[in-house]
């Protein structure tokens, strides 16, 4: 079913591109707005995850490096730029060509420069929804600022795509988005049970529709089916892995090129990951009288747009709620926004929860940065502390 949903996503992207109605968006962009205005979205970040999974990260990133982009630049950005430069040599022949590039910097600042670079190559204009990082809650002026950005987004889409926003349609889309997110959240929360019905790789794959197709009706069906299956597993006591002995938290994007080998290898040793900070990032329901205010609140308050304290709080909460024995912080070379502060986080989380953790280093797409032996030693040592 997941395959069908994702196949449909690709087909709809190509159709929209041919009709001149495709926007590329960042993963934290309020897609409910373009969706309600009849503009279809494609996700370069998700595409980069496909590049990683296909194990061609070094090749596709290499296309961008040949143009002069540094290996220090995010591998999602390098994959995105690389695949635009050489679509025929990239998985799925690249993403369908966009007519607009919609970036929201709630996940990082790199996305803007990345989309600028793609704009130079595709001539699609960039729209930035600016959501300055929050430290201690969202102030009234922050809210006003982001809300005005959403009004500008509507103007931009209206002019560029010749479309309008009707409040009734936005309410429908918001409701569908809320339904999908609510079902997804229930799937995640079912993992509090022992044994956990889902492992990390399961969630990283199953989250694809909620990332890329929020606001559509068919993904509500998909998440309902997933929840039914998860609930069935919980009732029958069927775990995601055979013999659950250690429950760990995962922090950050996974190494896509190694996702099954990595998590299945640990599963054979009785290690399951009932929770992670990444797949829990899509939450929150757009509702209330003022939908723009609701959108501005949800998209400003995403995990990566808040300070280190909020990250530490979230990790501690997951460790306690999901009854976890330890944690693995994946320091992703590409994703500075996610990885910065992990050393301090490790200390604080251990101190507050009393469980040990370990930092491993690597990358989500660029397999050249992933040293298995070094990672193995760190994880083995953590497991020895727990067994």
């Amino acid at each position: 079913m997941l395959q069908q949903v994702m196949f449909r996503y690709m087909l709809e992207g190509h159709t929209a591109s041919e009709e001149g109605k495709l926007a590329w968006v960042t993963s934290g962009f309020p897609v409910e707005i373009p969706q309600a205005m009849g503009v279809t979205s494609s996700y370069p970040e998700q595409y980069a995850a496909v590049v990683g999974s296909e194990k061609v990260g070094p090749t596709v990133c290499g296309f961008a490096e040949e143009l002069g982009y540094s290996q220090e630049l995010c591998s999602y950005a390098r994959s995105g730029i690389g695949s635009v430069l050489h679509p025929d040599d990239s998985p799925l022949n690249g993403l369908p060509p966009p007519q607009a590039l919609l970036a929201c910097n709630n996940i990082c600042g790199t996305v803007l420069r990345w989309y600028d670079a793609v704009s130079e190559l595709t001539e699609a204009p960039v729209f930035l929804l600016d959501t300055p990082p929050l430290d201690d809650g969202q102030s009234a002026h922050h809210m006003r600022y982001v809300k005005s950005g959403i009004h500008k987004l509507v103007d931009f889409l209206s002019k560029h795509f010749g479309t309008e926003l009707e409040e009734g349609r936005l309410r429908e889309v918001a409701e569908l988005s809320t339904q999908a997110i609510s079902l997804w959240t229930q799937c995640l929360e079912a993992c509090k049970k022992r044994p956990s019905p889902l492992n990390c790789a399961d969630r990283f794959l199953a989250m694809a529709p909620v990332v890329s197709m929020r606001g559509t009706d068919h993904i509500v069906e998909y998440y309902q089916a997933l929840l039914d299956e998860v609930n069935h597993r919980v009732r029958e006591g069927v775990g995601a892995i055979r013999d659950e002995r250690i429950r760990l938290l995962w922090d950050n994007i996974p190494p896509w090129f190694n996702i099954f080998k990595f998590f299945n290898g640990l599963a054979k040793r009785g290690v399951v990951f009932p929770a992670d900070t990444y797949t829990h990032a899509w939450s929150g329901s757009i509702s209330g009288d003022d939908l723009f205010e609701s959108v501005a609140t949800i998209y400003s308050n995403v995990y990566l747009n808040k300070g280190l304290d909020a990250k530490v709080d979230k990790m501690c909460e997951l460790i306690e709620d999901y009854n976890l024995d330890g944690f693995i912080l994946f320091s992703v070379r590409s994703c500075k926004r996610y990885s910065l502060g992990q050393m301090v986080s490790k200390e604080l989380v251990s101190e507050r929860t009393g469980v040990p953790g370990v930092i491993i280093e690597g990358d989500m797409v660029d397999s050249r940065l992933f040293n298995e032996a070094q990672i193995q030693t760190r994880i083995d040592a953590l497991l020895e502390m727990l067994l």
Partner: protein
């Protein structure tokens, strides 16, 4: 094995040297051997085992072997493998149960481990990405100064005016050392600067692990008196060094082998 093992064998396959240790149930050391790992970890392990078999001929069927170190998983004759983090903690705890923070500086990596009251690791940090915090740094620098590695520490202790080595990268520090040689600085002072620079780097790694309690140093670099001296200054603490600082990983593995059989 139906009977409890009489002997524990620990095999520590480090990147630079391979160590083996044989102990009995009373934790007495019956045999130990160390040699360079070279191109084959398996070959080095076999030669180490042969050496301890000569030192103490035992009934191998009554022993359990645990391998550790970066080559731990390639030894088929080992009953199990355990990381060097756990083995060093157990080995050091056996020799000195008071030690709470262990710094191990090996040939190609360095680690800092907080040891709990039961002798098991509670937290750790590893540096296995940068050679400047490892024995390799001193080896390269001793080569530049044309001093045998075993004499390098004593040479540094003869310094009266240590040079400043600001670079924290082995390759660039080498250029800096060559610059000092060119400027006519004394070998003793350059050597002291090299040791101080590496001690600062290791001290910074060790500060990442919060710990209160006595500090121990193991690994081949612990045999270097100048490194111990500068690290002690950098951390402002006395440092305990076991008699055979390279053997604690193998010792810990041997102890864990006996525990395994219990």
């Amino acid at each position: 094995m139906t009977q409890k093992p009489k002997y524990g064998i620990g095999l520590d396959l480090g990147s630079t040297s391979t160590k083996a240790m044989l102990i009995d149930r009373e934790r007495r050391v019956l045999g130990s051997h160390l040699l360079p790992t070279g191109a084959s970890a398996v070959g080095a392990a076999e030669r180490c085992l042969e050496a301890i078999a000569i030192q103490a001929p035992i009934d191998v069927s009554r022993s359990i072997t645990i391998s550790t170190g970066y080559g731990r998983s390639v030894i088929e004759s080992a009953d199990r493998n355990i990381t060097e983090i756990t083995c060093h903690s157990v080995g050091v705890n056996h020799l000195n149960p008071d030690i709470r923070l262990l710094i191990d500086v090996g040939g190609q990596d360095s680690k800092v481990i907080r040891i709990g009251a039961k002798g098991r690791p509670e937290d750790f940090e590893l540096n296995d990405k940068c050679s400047a915090g490892t024995g390799r740094f001193l080896e390269v620098m001793a080569g530049v100064l044309e001093v045998p590695l075993k004499d390098f520490g004593n040479l540094a202790l003869g310094s009266t005016d240590p040079c400043e080595i600001s670079n924290t990268c082995t390759v660039f520090a080498e250029s800096e050392v060559i610059g000092h040689i060119g400027a006519g600085k004394r070998a003793e002072d350059i050597a002291a600067g090299i040791h101080a620079s590496m001690a600062a780097k290791i001290a910074s790694l060790s500060k990442r692990i919060r710990s209160t309690g006595p500090l121990g140093l193991t690994g081949g670099v612990a045999l270097n008196p100048a490194f111990v001296h500068y690290l002690s200054i950098e951390l402002g603490e006395d440092i305990w060094v076991p008699e055979e600082p390279q053997m604690t990983g193998a010792l810990g593995a041997a102890i864990l082998a006996l525990d395994e059989g219990d």
